[in-house]
Amino acid sequence: MQTLIFYICALAVLSGALGVVLAHNPVHSALFLLLTLVSVAVLFLQEGAALVAIIQIVVYASAIVVLFVFVIALLGVDQHESFDEPSLFQRPVAIVLGVLLFVQIVVLAGRHWVTGQQSAHGALDTARSGNVTRLATSLFTDYIWAFEITAVLLVIAVVGGVSLARRSGQRPGGPRVDAAAEADK
């Protein structure tokens, strides 16, 4: 049963990924991306990472894909992406490099793994506490500094996103003042 679920999800992951790359319409790409993300979440569940699977659904499959679709809707679907070659060699070279990369990773993963150490930061599940408790304990003890820095990173990203998305040269509330002045005349 586990194996069957794995194969179904693997098929969905790979077909979704191929769909992202091959779809002409960016909206279709976003929907294929959603398929891949949800299937990866199922694989996370299968490997005992319940909390990460839920975060994957909530953050990735909801927030990020919705953000993509929203930006596509804002910019309009860009249909005139040229699929003919800008330079003659780029696409074959990219595919050859990709196959090389795949073979490299598989060969390396099939050999001995460098790390043999087990449970450097605590076991995955103990008898008394589940996955969420383990993850939270590790996050708020061993990784507390990384967690705090992550908060700073998110604040910087939000401020950066807002200041980038605002029209350049526009002051906050500037045109509205002008409109009020026009109304006064």
Binding site: T3, Y7, A10, V13, A17, V20, V21, P26, L33, T36, L37, V40, L43, F44, E47, A49, L51, V52, I55, Q56, Y60, I64, L67, F68, V71, I72, L75, D78, E81, P86, Q90, A94, I95, L97, G98, V99, L101, I105, V106, G110, T115, Q118, S119, A120, G122, A123, L124, L135, S138, Y143, A146, T150, L153, L154, A157, G161, L164, A165, R167, S168
Partner: protein, 105 residues
């Protein structure tokens, strides 16, 4: 029969390798910056899958903590990246990567 075979970490790692490869090739082949972003997300997901696989294989929670941080970084990256794409679109009215050659010497 192949479906009876026990699921080893190798299955997940091979799947993650394939996913990463598809994302990397897509990043090289596509021209639409939004789709290139989605390919980056594919590669991040492949890395996440690898982390979770090793977390299971080595019975170590820190792999899952790393995935947590990767998700946060991916969210921040998407927010800033899409803001950049919107800013580029305002100036040039298309977001094809080949046309973004303003820094060309």
């Amino acid at each position: 029969m192949i479906a009876v075979a026990r699921l080893t970490p190798g299955y997940y790692l091979t799947l993650a390798a394939a996913l990463f490869t598809i994302g990397a090739v897509g990043l090289l082949v596509r021209r639409n910056t939004l789709v290139m972003f989605m390919c980056i997300e594919l590669m991040l997901n492949a890395a996440n899958l690898t982390f979770v696989s090793f977390s299971k294989a080595l019975n170590d929670i820190s792999g899952q903590v790393t995935v947590f941080f990767t998700l946060v970084v991916a969210a921040a990256e998407v927010a800033v990246g899409l803001a950049i794409i919107v800013a580029i679109f305002r100036r040039r009215h298309h977001v094809t990567a080949d046309d973004l050659n303003a820094l060309e010497g």
